[in-house]
């Protein structure tokens, strides 16, 4: 048993629901007890989808368990087929049905329906939502394309010279983080170097579209959590190359374009600098000087966390102080990035562990999921959301991609705005304890919202005391670095066996730790 107060991911059948809700003309029949329909509200309320997800539930109750739950499944399947007339049936079980062992997949296949029927194995007691989405997408693609797999040893015919190159965008789903806008942005990017988009899947794809996947020259693995397994299968069996660079951030976007050009066999002399990319200049402009070395903590799914760590370090000049993910399947990638930026990786799905890490590191900015937003709010630290699990705010009315050059503009705005702006910060430093510019005054752009930092408990075992003078001096240090100054000074004193911190000790420590 695992004690869980809150979880980053739902069960695997919710992942399957995300895929089927992304597809067109497909339907999922879930063998599930009364109550499991709660998951519909994720789609209709959080994403504000105007239609119910194409999922039917058997809704069995205690009285059915004595009888025939298998018969209930079959009648649900029959009624669902007649009502919705899908072109593809997916059959799944939620956690409770898995224990009943009714074998709904086998039952469904026995019905000889005139459409493909796919039985999903979604081990609810070992796997989670993203795994379920990845597995479902893979099963759908494999089932619809297996008769197109060429015999072993054959090679892929080259693209006719008169046909422009095309790519498939694989991985965007319902309830994915900004997938809706990322798809538009990536289509625009590819178009700028003369590559067309063949199929986007699963988001918006019908079974007939999935069957057209082999027509593209290569696949773009846009969200590895969802599409990595599928892209690997397509590479192995249909010899379609995969571009795995995720175009989040300026550097990654340029690399992505280079990789796509190579996969399409295009000769790209130089990546055209798009006029809509303001982020590099904004980052170089003088106001941004104040971003230098801001301590940033990053946590999210692996794709977004790894991408964010690179942008933090290379494109905004922040200092990365922590990097973590709840996507255990992609822990390796996150560990690599952590090594690259010399921070400790945090691989966990326990938000309390994340919270204590943030409290310990005292970053000046947190980039995380909605849960980290709450954690940061409690600790009085600015925060921006970079990753699923999604919240209604993650489906903004405006166009707000994370990917490509426009995505980089969005990231600059959403990550920098929660911070004190450079000039504003400068004034506060100059006027320190002025009656208007003081630590309790909220940043002007946050209006009258008061966020008070939570006092971190000082370590009880420390026997170090501060003299009144030193305490007074500490107060003159700008509040946003005061916590750090206090900790550093105490650490400095402790290492030297100093029991009483004086003004002298404070400045000695400052000199010692000075950047």
């Amino acid at each position: 048993m695992q004690l869980t107060l809150w979880s980053y991911e739902g069960p695997p059948h919710v992942g399957a629901m995300r895929v089927v809700a992304s597809l067109r003309r497909a339907h999922l029949v879930l063998h599930a007890p009364q109550g499991d329909t709660y998951a519909d509200l994720l789609f209709t309320m959080i994403e504000r989808r105007p239609t119910r997800p194409p999922v039917s539930y058997t809704s069995f109750q205690a009285r059915d368990l004595g009888g025939d739950t298998a018969a209930l499944f079959l009648s649900t399947l029959q009624a669902t087929y007649e009502r919705f007339q899908p072109e593809l049936f997916l059959i799944g079980e939620s956690c409770t049905a898995e224990l009943l062992q009714d074998q709904p997949g086998a039952l469904a296949k026995g019905m000889d329906l005139p459409i493909p029927v796919l039985s999903l194995e979604l081990p609810a007691y070992t796997r989670k939502e993203n795994w379920g989405a990845s597995e479902t997408f893979y099963q759908v693609v494999r089932a619809l394309l297996k008769d197109q797999v060429p015999p072993p040893g054959s090679t892929r015919p080259g693209r006719p010279a008169d046909r422009p190159p095309t790519a498939n965008l694989l991985g965007p789903t319902a309830l994915g983080f900004r997938c809706r806008d990322d798809v538009i942005e990536v289509e625009r990017l590819l178009d700028s170097i003369g590559i067309g988009v063949n199929v986007v899947a699963p988001l918006g794809a019908a079974p007939a579209d999935i069957r057209r996947i082999p027509e593209a020259d290569f696949n773009v693995c846009l969200y590895p959590e969802i599409a990595d397994q599928t892209c690997e299968w397509l590479k192995r069996n249909l010899h379609q190359p995969v571009v795995k660079t995720v175009p989040i951030g300026i550097g990654a976007t340029r690399e992505f374009l280079k990789d796509c050009a190579a996969a399409a066999g295009l000769d790209l002399k130089a990546i055209p600098e798009p006029s809509w990319s303001r982020m590099p200049w904004y980052s170089r402009s003088v106001d941004s000087t104040y971003l230098t070395g801001k301590r940033v903590f990053v946590f999210g799914d692996a794709t977004h966390a790894v991408a964010a760590s690179r942008i933090v370090v290379e494109e905004l000049g922040f200092k990365l102080v922590g990097l973590g993910t709840y996507s255990r399947e992609f822990a390796r990638e996150v560990r690599e990035a952590a090594r690259r930026y010399a921070v400790e990786p945090l691989i966990t799905d326990d938000y309390l562990e994340v919270e204590s890490k943030v409290a310990e590191l005292q970053p000046e900015l947190v980039l995380g999921t909605q849960m980290e937003r709450h954690i940061a709010k409690r600790l009085g630290i600015p925060c921006a959301v970079i990753s699923a699990p999604v919240h209604i705010q993650d489906f903004p009315a405006r166009y707000a991609p994370q990917m490509g050059f426009e995505g980089a503009n969005v990231l600059f705005d959403t990550w920098v705005h929660p911070l004190m702006m450079g000039l504003e910060e400068h004034l506060i430093t100059m006027f320190r304890e002025d009656f208007e510019f003081h630590e309790d005054a909220p940043p002007s752009h946050l209006g009258s919202i008061q966020t008070r930092p939570v006092q971190m408990p000082t370590t009880p075992e420390t026997s170090i005391v501060w003299t009144a003078d030193a305490e007074q001096e500490l107060k003159k240090i700008p509040f946003f670095v005061r916590g750090k100054a206090r900790r550093n000074t105490e650490r400095f004193a402790e290492e030297r066996g100093i029991k009483t911190i004086t003004v002298e000790t404070l400045y000695d420590a400052k000199a010692h730790f000075g950047r």
Partner: protein, 426 residues
């Protein structure tokens, strides 16, 4: 949790006719009750023994995100628990020890059964006994089931309150008390306390209590008033302990609240003139507030999809006090005895449904195109997108709606979507 075998009182009205339906149910399971029960019982912790689905449901129903460390959690069953590699009871003891260490101030720990724990036949009652012994004088451990196999949404509260009954001390024979059953927001509870006190009715106790130490005592002199209609099991068990149910409509709207209070006043022999004098100011306020809402709601056609068992009392209020036309009123479960007074007040031609086949119900909704459809969160936006106005039923469980001073608020919950639709030009 079945009505079968329960003795039906002879005077129970067998009209109106009820259409019974079975099929896909678009409702929460009883676990959702934890969302309001943990706010009400402030020294309790709710530990669901279930799957990741249970944890996900709870966090989704609780408004998607939590703002403080919640007093509920899920002990998620892992494959090794199911395969028998880990002794479930040992694992449970470990998890409980962890919770009690983290939250030393909790006085009651509910072990809440779920669909998976029911199917693997994990005996939580036995576990609760064992753990109560271990944490004697520190934490009381109580088990109940809120699985979707056993409970529909609000029935989770019934199951929880039923499990609390052994904790209620015995009130000596000859001692009178009024027991209000069903979670009410504190503000509403306090309003009722003031009214009962002015009526001279005393003592008045509430189940669930705000703290377990304040749990009511029950005896032959206990008279029960139901604040919520979904508490069949709890009422029947209390009747077995000698308590008597005061039959009344539910305290929703002016009419319902008046009749509900009157049932207690009559039992206590409060003179009519005094009763009228005590409630007069609140009734007047409510009538004033309601008149404005009535103007907005009058003649509107409304449809209730089944959700909380509050549908019938609320439909009665809307029909009789707001002039709303009831097209269909569906309820997940109908306890004819506890609903007798309400059924008698419904317009005779009303179409009633017990249970759910969501696709059939939606087909009827689409054909009738009501002015307002009361439904769960999964259905609201899709119906709105079809041009139908909706009211989220979950708000009826989380918002203070009982009593005189909330009558206008209750009506306003239904008027708001209509007013909004009238405002928008986009």
């Amino acid at each position: 949790m079945s009505a079968a075998g329960l003795p039906l009182a002879v005077e129970v009205n067998l009209r109106p006719e009820i259409n019974r339906e079975r099929g896909q149910r678009q409702v929460f399971c009883g676990l959702a009750g934890i969302v309001w029960l943990h706010r009400k019982i402030q020294d309790a912790f709710f530990l669901v023994i279930g799957s990741r689905t249970c944890a996900h449901l709870l966090q989704s129903a609780a408004g998607v995100m939590i703002f403080a460390e919640p007093r509920f959690a899920t002990a998620i069953l892992q494959e090794r628990d199911l395969a028998g590699l880990a002794d479930c009871n040992q694992e449970l003891d470990r998890v409980v020890a962890e919770i009690i260490q983290r939250r030393p101030t909790i006085k009651t720990l509910f072990l809440v059964g779920s669909c998976p724990s029911e199917v693997i036949k994990l005996d939580l009652h036995k576990a609760a006994e064992r753990l109560s012994g271990r944490y004697r004088n520190q934490v009381r451990v109580i088990a109940y089931s809120a699985s979707g196999l056993e409970t529909t949404f609000t029935q989770g509260e019934d199951s929880c309150l039923h499990s609390l009954l052994p904790e209620l001390s015995q009130r000596p024979d000859g001692e009178r008390s009024l027991l209000i059953i069903g979670t009410l927001p504190d503000v509403v509870e306090d309003q009722f306390k003031r009214l009962f006190s002015e009526l001279g009715i005393d003592p008045v106790e509430f189940l669930p209590p705000r703290r377990l130490a304040e749990a009511p005592a029950v005896g032959r002199g206990t008279r029960m008033l139901l604040a919520q209609p979904f508490l069949s099991e709890t009422v029947r068990a209390l009747e077995k302990r000698g308590a008597t149910l005061l039959s009344a409509p539910y305290p929703l709207g002016i009419e319902g609240t008046r009749a509900w209070l009157e049932a207690a006043a009559q039992a206590w022999g409060v003179p009519r003139a005094r009763f009228e004098a005590v409630i007069a100011p609140a009734v007047e306020r409510a009538a004033k507030g309601l008149s404005h809402q009535r103007a907005l709601l009058e003649g509107k056609r409304i449809w209730f999809l089944p959700d909380s068992q509050l549908e019938i009392p609320i439909a009665r209020f809307l029909a009789r006090e707001c002039g709303v036309q009831l097209l269909e009123v569906a309820t997940p479960f109908l306890d004819r005895q506890l609903m007798a007074e309400e059924l008698a007040l419904l317009p005779p031609q009303v179409s009633l449904t017990e249970g759910q086949d969501v696709e059939q119900q939606l087909a009827r909704v689409r054909a009738a195109r009501p002015d307002l459809t009361v439904c769960g969160l999964g259905l609201a936006n899709p119906l709105e997108a079809e041009g139908l106005r909706t009211k989220w039923s979950i708000e009826l469980v989380f918002t203070p709606i009982h009593g005189f001073d909330q009558a206008a608020d209750l009506a306003e919950l239904f008027a708001r979507p209509l007013v909004r639709a009238g405002l928008l030009r986009v």
